[in-house]
Symmetry: C2
Subunit: 317 residues, 2 copies
């Protein structure tokens, strides 16, 4: 199946173009979850990783009927070494079991055989005694374009071969993203050039909905850039970070959508999964109800985006 | 200790500014190593990872008195999931035990708290039940600059705090590196702008030898660019990929050095670790002597670089 069809189908099913970032942070995991994991695995990285997995499972169970996708950020897992990566692997499996699309945020970027290694491990198949086997088997991954097409091509090949997707960094949500991405190249910016490359690299990959599995990362924090980038990459889906904790609003994310209501999926991580610690929610939910708090925050985000789509005269449910 | 002092000290000790890339590839690991691992761990990812570790240990034992550093490329480990990452962790420990500097090639790049997660896991300390603990504890890591200072700052902080190093991608060795890196920005190229940023970000980090732990990746395949980049980043050490299998020669790598014979470390991966399969070496070494073949290739590379340094009137041993 074409990844664009898969993702847009799930968005339609949930009537919600937003996703939940699964970025577990040891200090923010509820005490009860941590104590249980520590009891079983000791005060070790294995115990920490286990607490992440249990936390994620509870969040996934709670939001699975609200959102089409989850976005685990690899950094938060790999920082705890092989045990953390195991928790990532198990999280991917569990999210798939619950019918969710898994967007791996890893921003990988390398060249030639190394880019192939990343792509085969995350999206494709790796060589093994059985010939080849799936690795992480996520549905899509974020990719860094700084190395040019050599770094992206192996991913595009696996996108085509295995029905996977990629989101290439074009305009990231952080304050200093302009340091490189906004430099002038003639009358364009570097991020415009990257957008043109993304558009070129994605040619001919359209699914039945006329969207492509070669997408772009465009931060909600730069709505004016998004207007222009949306025009350059008409058929690409935008993965939109920067909502909530980073300051982007639902209105800010609107330029990332096409008029048909598709073309973007907005992510929130901390604002959802650690909602139980927010001023706004912490009087309504106990720490052990962190999953209910996450669901409430996810539903609120869904409604905010729906309202903004309505206001912006974009198709909405 | 300042990472620049650590690395340059080891280069001096070995009289050799080159390193060996530890990029294990399942299909290229000698049969005997694979069969042993399979016997112990079955035809599993765990078995593959174990074969990587045994292979690496033999290579490390063999080249430890020739080179100052090894450069494991994370992609080749993480493609086999948590077991692969475990092999990476054990490889790092073993290389350290043998007195080698470990340059992790991971090209990580992200923003804010995510960049912090990468940096704390790879270079620094991660939060745990014990307060904090070291993660991978490599000596340095390669970093992608596309996200601007937000993506680099957490690494620089850990460089200062823990005596670690980073090599920021400036001009990569691959054919299409110019697609973004060579775009004109006024009368400069984008890679020049990145070089200026690297130079700025590294200010004040000099060690006793007046070199900085904030270095740059500059491919041996672009010697003319290197001349200019060497001038812009006077005090940075260059990590130089592209030698050997990618077509770069020892002469090509010369512009990456300063006249004092320091300022660069040249890497070769496949050309060393899989030398036993090369036309050149395979009549001299049996597959089970892959480690001896690697040492012969590493010594040949050392000599080639020394000869080129001599020819270019650069300090050499």
């Amino acid at each position: 199946m074409n990844f664009a069809d898969l993702l847009l189908g799930k968005i339609e099913e949930k009537q919600n173009p937003s996703c939940v970032g699964l970025d577990p942070i040891f200090e923010k995991i509820p005490q009860q979850i941590k104590e249980e994991a520590k009891g079983k695995f000791g005060p070790t990285f294995e115990g920490i990783a286990q607490s992440f997995l249990e936390f994620n499972k509870r969040i996934i169970d709670s939001v699975a009927d609200v959102v089409p996708a989850v976005k685990p950020q690899m950094a938060f897992y790999e920082k705890y070494g092989s045990f953390g990566v195991r928790a990532f692997e198990e999280t991917v499996k569990y999210a798939h079991k619950k019918g969710l699309v898994v967007i791996e945020d890893a921003k990988r970027g390398d060249i030639g055989s190394t880019a192939e290694a990343y792509s085969s491990g995350h999206l494709g198949r790796v060589a093994s005694w059985k010939g080849e086997e799936a690795g992480y088997d996520v549905d899509c991954i974020t990719v860094n374009p700084y190395l040019g097409i050599d770094g992206v091509k192996p991913f595009i090949e696996d996108v085509k071969k295995y029905g996977k997707g990629i989101f290439i960094l074009v305009k990231t949500s952080n304050p200093s993203s302009g340091e490189l991405q906004d430099l002038d190249y003639g009358n364009k910016k570097i991020c415009d050039v990257v957008a043109e490359l993304v558009n070129k690299w994605g040619e001919g990959t359209e699914g039945t909905r006329n969207y492509r599995p070669i997408g772009a990362v465009v931060g909600a924090t730069y709505p004016q850039e998004a207007v222009k980038l949306r025009r350059i990459m008409e058929k690409s889906i935008f993965l939109v970070p920067g909502y909530g904790a980073q300051g982007g609003t639902a209105d800010d994310a609107m330029p990332c959508f096409n008029k048909d209501g598709y073309g973007a999926i907005v992510n929130s991580s901390r604002g959802i999964i650690f909602a139980y610690q927010d001023e706004k929610w912490k009087n309504k939910f106990m720490p052990e109800q962190f999953d209910d708090a996450a669901k409430a925050a996810a539903l609120e985000m869904k409604e905010a985006i729906s309202n903004s789509l309505k206001k912006a005269n974009i198709f909405h449910w």
